[in-house]
């Protein structure tokens, strides 16, 4: 007997069906766990994120809007967000910068969460400036606004495939820029 498709499973999960939730877990846990390990490079952290992600799916299933994204996309968006939060908490910018004190950060009150977030935003923004306009647009929406690919496509009124293609090319360039030492200091 075949298992139900995602939309049906999600409808049942939203209705509080734990059996459907278990089937959904069986379907996506292995690939999602690999996804988390790939981001975090740590199996224990990945395990925690996987748990947090599925618990959030259970909690927020009623709020899921199938017209905006697929269940699978929504699931991975949650996992990515939580994995990055976990990564940041593990590699606190504040802690890392405290090991290499910088006069300008000291003056600006380094150690303050808002300050470090502003520093990172400024850095990412300067890196993005080195990409093409099309690539910048999709990656800014993804990075600063947290939009999914489907949402970016809908917002820009572009085909999803085009958005994904621009995102991939932009990521490749962005990673190369970061590898070369980032955007410089100004």
């Amino acid at each position: 007997m075949s298992t139900p498709a995602d939309p049906e499973l999600f409808a049942r999960i939203a209705a509080g069906d734990r059996e459907a939730f278990g089937l959904f877990y069986d379907r996506y846990a292995p690939v999602l766990f690999g996804f988390c390990v790939r981001i975090l490079k740590d199996a224990r952290d990945a395990e925690d994120v996987l748990q947090e992600t599925f618990v959030q799916v259970w909690r927020d299933a009623l709020r899921f809007d199938p017209t905006r994204a697929s269940a699978k996309t929504w699931l991975f968006t949650i996992a990515r967000s939580r994995a990055l939060d976990r990564w940041r908490s593990r590699h606190s910018l504040e802690r890392r910068l405290s090991t290499v004190p910088d006069e300008s950060l000291d003056r600006a009150g380094a150690g303050d969460g808002e300050q470090e977030a502003a520093t990172l935003r400024d850095y990412v923004s300067r890196c993005l400036e080195k990409l093409s306009e099309n690539e910048q647009v999709v990656l800014r929406l993804a990075y600063f606004d947290g939009y999914t690919q489907e949402e970016i496509a809908a917002r820009l009124n572009e085909p999803l495939g085009t958005v994904k293609s621009r995102t991939r090319s932009g990521l490749t360039k962005l990673r190369a820029i970061a590898a070369k030492g980032g955007a410089g200091r100004g």
Binding site: G34, V55, W58, T73, W87, L93, R96, E103
Partner: protein
């Protein structure tokens, strides 16, 4: 030196950006239908059960996570938390047990004190009885004590009485059996004959069960050497000279 700091800071920012790039790319790989299937990695086998346990707990607002499997060589935070929680729970249970024990001991102590008081009272009574028996025994062992046996006459042939008295202390005791109780206005009266003259030696009432013990005080004054004794039925309180029917008679042994 300052350039080193700038380079380190830039590399840290670059690492954060690269991680974000990796995450978005991984997400694209995982969700893009046209992309190769992303690699699968089996999560810990007990993770599903833990998640199901957690959502059940959230639904019932009673989250008690199942024990987390311990990975070799890695500290287990869930286990540590559980150990801590178990430690706290054990402390509370231990404290509760001590409190219950203290309360029970206190209650038992109160009951024990009451029992000890009762036993002390019983011991005191037994001690008093023992001293009385010892006193009686000492009295009976006195060589001056004399004994007389009395028998019932025709109206009460089964009646018996035994009289012991000490002329020195002028105290005695009378055991009576087989005499019926008398009307309220009557009582039995003991007579000691000194020569031919009866001397009143006290009155008593017979018990329904037939066994009666009558102490004879020194006021009764049995005299120095009575030889004969008798019991008659007399008006309540006794009379100086016998007037009623004789029911018991006997002589000194």
């Amino acid at each position: 030196m300052a350039d080193d700091r700038v380079d380190s800071r830039a590399s840290l920012l670059a690492a954060e950006l690269a991680t974000w790039c990796d995450a978005v790319e991984a997400e694209l790989d995982a969700t893009d239908e046209g992309a190769p299937a992303p690699p699968e990695t089996a999560p810990p086998p007990d993770l599903k059960e833990r998640i199901l346990w957690q959502i059940r707990g959230e639904d019932s607002a009673a989250v008690i996570p199942p024990p987390r499997r311990v990975s070799s060589g890695m500290p287990d935070r869930g286990l540590a938390t559980m150990a801590w929680a178990l430690g706290v729970a054990a402390s509370f249970m231990l404290a509760a047990a001590f409190a219950a024990l203290w309360y029970a001991t206190r209650t038992d102590l109160g009951a024990t004190r009451e029992t000890v008081a009762q036993l002390e009272g019983m011991l005191h009574d037994r001690d008093r009885d023992l001293k009385a028996r010892e006193s009686e025994l000492a009295w009976l062992k006195d060589p001056r004590v004399q004994v007389a046996l009395l028998k019932g006459l025709e109206s009460n042939p089964a009646a018996r009485a035994k009289l012991l008295w000490n002329p020195g202390t002028k105290q005695g005791i009378l055991w009576v059996s087989g005499l019926p109780p008398l009307p309220l206005e009557q009582s039995y009266e003991l007579w000691a004959f000194v020569g031919d003259q009866p001397v009143p030696a006290g009155t008593f009432d017979a018990r329904a069960d037939g066994a009666t013990v009558i102490p004879i005080s020194k006021e009764e004054n049995l005299g120095e050497a009575p030889v004969k004794f008798a019991v008659s039925v007399e008006p309540k309180g006794g009379v100086p000279k016998p007037t009623g029917a004789i029911v018991l008679v006997g002589e000194r042994l």
